[in-house]
Symmetry: C2
Subunit: 316 residues, 2 copies
């Protein structure tokens, strides 16, 4: 997205400053995280919404800071997420990972959450603090929901969607809302952008889950089928279960046989389940687009619509 | 402390309400933590300071909520601390990561931190949010400092004190300060109570570390010498190192031989090191008392002084 290239570059620089700490280990753990080429999707959306709703398409200092905070929270959640998923993997394969890494990971996550709280408070809007602090409780609830339904093939598509809301969509919805709060937008606009973010976030998670099956390992940054190994049963699998009862057995055995992962992926690919999952993602994208297009007379909505479409097109 | 018995009872009730979540696992993990008989020292201090500085010795609703938030943050830090230290029992009961697993423990901690942020924002004082969010960054820095100096017998008493500040005293100092902010106290009073909390917190940590050597397992709620097993070299050990070089060898071997723990404790007890550590704690207690006694004309300071003394007397 050309129009926000300068802002994204500045964001990367600021992220490094914001996580500065005297502590070399904590710093290098945090730095490594931000160096890894994240897609910066959350900041991109915040920037584009800011340009859409602010006068003269300007992104305010507070909105830029919000974008940074959102990226820090997202990164913190990834760190803790990794510990959680490593634990699951360890259960099946007895991977030895040293206590030291776990230790630093717990702390680096705590440190990032805490830094984000501090910067958040310094935005000087209690309303924004309230909106954003909701994200972390939702994240924790979402991960626990995921833990509770791990390897449970009775999971419904509704609880899959609910889980995805807590895990992913809440963060995007709340940061979209916070962007409008910082612009002193009306309650109506705040709610609309909350909903926009919610639908976008849900589509984003569904697409991510499809990519876990159809993507190449090197693009994903993790082996294909990682979700299944961790017991995370996603939309394409849920849609296939009734047609292919053999999958239930593999789930019961917690995908401990490596060949079962590929077999499950192939079984899913031979049905229309991936298309069905795509359709749900598409529906949410359409709902998100509808809000931007019809409810407000934003003439400059082209870029936000482009990004919204882009998220869907990742799988095409 | 009779005068705040009702408030403490109400605090226990409220804590259960505040951590309510639809999620049964998260809830039972959190409940287990709050059921375990904590000493409620942090809330006690907040209540007593409130009574000292407020008119008519009333504790305001916001100050009561602050006490609850402080206890939640403290508990959240304990959960993550236990993962880091691989500690199996806490407050006499199983820790969350033993009773459940690492996964739930990471999330339960995140959930509690997030809940506390949310309640904090709803105190409607940005100044308090800023003061309290400092605690969690300090906590993470303190734990990493501890990790970096684990089993390092070159640790100085100064870095031991610095570590204790980040780990323990910062929380008490910041919550004492926040109590005064909620009373719209002057900057001077805010700073004084910050210092009071800081000295009290340092004394508290030093005494806790002494008790880890001299206490009985059942009183401690964890085995004696736990600090050493985790590589946490505390004041009494640091003071003994130069006199008894044999200890250095045990540290190098990371106390992997169980008999070394008892031998180290006995070696320390045969010197004046415990007394020297006590002396430092006593100094900090005196500094804390000095602030309450001399700098302000609080006539009703008896109870706060009693608690301050009590913390020291735990080891006598």
């Amino acid at each position: 997205m050309k129009s926000i290239q300068i802002e994204l570059r500045q964001l990367n620089k600021n992220l490094h400053k914001m996580i500065a700490t005297e502590n070399p280990i904590l710093y290098s753990a945090a730095k490594q995280l931000f160096n890894a080429r994240g897609k910066r999707i959350r900041p991109t959306i915040i920037f584009l919404i800011s340009k859409l709703i602010n006068e003269n398409e300007i992104i305010s200092t507070e909105q830029k800071r919000l974008a940074e905070i959102t990226e820090i929270i997202h990164t913190a959640s990834l760190v803790h997420d990794d510990i959680i998923d490593n634990c699951d993997t360890r259960r099946g394969t007895e991977t030895v990972h040293t206590a030291f890494n776990n230790k630093i990971a717990v702390l680096a996550g705590d440190f990032l959450f805490a830094q984000s709280s501090w910067y958040l408070a310094n935005l000087n809007s209690l309303n924004v603090v309230k909106t954003i602090s909701k994200i972390i409780t939702d994240f924790a609830e979402g991960e626990v929901k995921q833990g509770m339904t791990a390897f449970d093939y009775q999971i419904s598509i509704d609880s899959y969607i609910e889980k995805s809301f807590y895990k992913t969509a809440s963060l995007i919805a709340c940061s979209c809302k916070a962007t409008t709060i910082l612009n002193q937008s009306s309650q109506n606009i705040q709610n609309d952008f909350y909903l926009y973010g919610k639908h976008l976030g849900l589509a984003f998670q569904i697409i991510d889950d499809i990519l876990d099956l159809t993507g190449l390992s090197k693009d994903l940054g993790k082996p294909a089928g990682s979700d299944f190994i961790n017991g995370n049963l996603t939309a394409p699998l849920i849609f296939t279960l009734n047609k292919k009862p053999k999958l239930k057995k593999m789930i019961d055995q917690e995908f401990q046989f490596k060949e079962h992962i590929n077999e499950a992926i192939n079984t899913i690919k031979n049905t229309n389940s991936i298309q069905k999952a795509k359709d749900i993602a598409e529906e949410h994208i359409q709902l998100a687009i509808h809000i931007i297009k019809s409810k407000h007379s934003y003439t400059n909505n082209r870029e936000l619509l482009l990004v919204t479409h882009y998220l869907l097109n990742r799988i095409n």
